[in-house]
Symmetry: C2
């Protein structure tokens, strides 16, 4: 009898340590307040993952796509990648005395952000091209890595990589625990995100989709490199998002998360598939803990999307009321 007890104890220990269905009984989304929003997310996940559910989706088809700026991390007072570009221009300036004749680049160097923003799409593109190209992909990765690990946001004094939303980190973990494959689908630069998304979000580079510039394969001094060219390859925004999802993934997501009109087509494309879908807009409603903006904002405008979410019954996260915590 003694041996039989021992046997049972051993069996219990071993079975529990090797079980893959180890279910966490505690709340997987502690930074989300109870309510309809949280419930709609959890209902969807239960619905598509429960064996025998009429809406069951095989693990390999559990694709979820997330916008980055304003959805996984903050984007005010302007996109963080623009700050990176401005910092790069200033760092490069000592080697470019010829920039003294370029009013736009001089505005960057003199912290004249009003002129920079006022330069519009054409001016911003020049700033991005000047700061983001002309080096190898390996060199650029190193530059991004250094910036993201050292630079702080002027308002919060947090590292930029600390300006990510704790409730969204929990949501990513929750989805992964339910065998979802998570992709970032961002208007931001693909090679600006990849050096840190694994560390910060647990999302590996091959699951990061973004805007890109062209690269060119060359053998320099016997060593193959990819050179970053000052030429747009693809803008991963608006209609570009479903195009990129189809190109990179080749499957239609069953869940999509965005925060602006730039995400609308991704949400429409996701919603148009068969079966249960989870379509979510993050609505920036918290002027105190983060920022409050929507229809009139130049960064992350949410106007048409807000109307469509309302008419289609999509889930809209009210940051102020649905989240009890913003940053980790």
């Amino acid at each position: 009898m003694k041996h039989l007890n021992l046997l049972l104890i051993f069996l219990t220990i071993i079975l529990s340590s090797c079980s893959e269905d180890n279910v966490n009984q505690s709340d997987p989304l502690p930074s989300w307040n109870s309510g309809n929003t949280k419930q709609s997310i959890m209902d969807f996940v239960n619905n598509v993952t429960k064996d025998g559910s009429p809406n069951f989706v095989k693990p390999e088809d559990r694709i979820a796509t997330f916008d980055n700026d304003g959805t996984l991390w903050s984007e005010q007072p302007y996109y963080f990648q623009l700050q990176f570009a401005l910092d790069r221009i200033k760092a490069m300036a000592p080697d470019h005395s010829e920039w003294k004749d370029n009013p736009l680049l001089m505005a960057v160097i003199n912290n004249d952000i009003k002129t920079v923003i006022g330069s519009g799409e054409k001016g911003l593109m020049e700033i991005v091209m000047t700061s983001h190209t002309g080096m190898t992909t390996t060199e650029f990765e190193q530059i991004v890595r250094e910036w993201i690990n050292t630079t702080r946001h002027p308002k919060t004094n947090k590292l930029y990589k600390g300006m990510v939303y704790q409730p969204m980190l929990e949501l990513l973990d929750y989805l992964r625990a339910n065998d979802f494959k998570i992709y970032i689908v961002s208007g931001g630069g693909i090679e600006f995100m990849r050096p840190w998304t694994e560390e910060v979000y647990g999302i590996p580079s091959e699951q990061v989709i973004g805007s890109s510039i062209k690269t060119k394969f060359e053998i320099i001094d016997g060593k193959p490199v990819l050179l970053r060219l000052p030429e747009i390859d693809f803008i991963d925004d608006k209609e570009g998002k479903p195009v990129a999802i189809n190109k990179f993934i080749g499957k239609r997501p069953i869940a999509a998360f965005g925060n602006s009109d730039g995400d609308l087509q991704m949400l429409q494309w996701t919603a148009a598939g068969d079966g249960k879908r989870l379509i979510v807009y993050i609505h920036h409603t918290d002027a105190e803990r983060e920022w409050a903006y929507d229809r009139e904002s130049s960064t992350g405008r949410l106007d048409k999307g807000l109307d469509e979410a309302s008419s289609k019954g999509w889930t809209v996260v009210d940051m102020k009321n649905d989240w009890n915590k913003i940053y980790p």
Copy 2:
């Protein structure tokens, strides 16, 4: 004592059924003859996967890229995707009486393959564009699915999807069992491959990279679709292969497999990384069981690559002598 024996038996059964390090003691590559080629592959895998090895690579960085045509399946007497295009033109012909004034399309319809091949890159591009565009991505997927499941190769009378190499299927399984993530990186059309790579190779669509045409997001009758446009997006061949690997994966492979000069840059890019690398060319040497061709072939020419493999000491698979079986 009796109970203790029982305990040991139970433990053994349970541990073996839940262990993830379950090592298959039998030969993982039975269709590969013993010899240097097989040994170089297995030595590499042992080297990068063995805990404590100075060449150990973390599972998330175990990226292996494979060309498709001539590397995973046959490509003679011409690329199978060209046969698909020709079959499509013939299927579409009844609705296109205007093609009677187009000598190239009439050559296709009349099985005049000599004229078709003789039309060169421009002619072949017209055939591909005519047959591959003008529908939604969903419609195209269905067309490919139907073709691949019904069409047979004129020489072997096998279904095209049965013209895959058994030794390579074993190699894919062996690498996956060792936590490699496998990508196809092919000059073939990305949306021509994806409908069947999961079934045939166990490679999901998100791990298939290929040449692409542009698509356009549109809402037609209230339903979002992606329309396939008659415009090249990207040619995933030669210098394009490392460019696409960087864009889609964002990591450098540690193993790469090709069979032609079109794969050379992918192999060079892979070889240029730090640490142990496995660089493999499949050399078509078996005129009896498959085809024998290399430096002079118009399809799958292997000329510069053969020289570089020799000078760099890459692994060259001699199909005739290294493989005891070709097709499943």
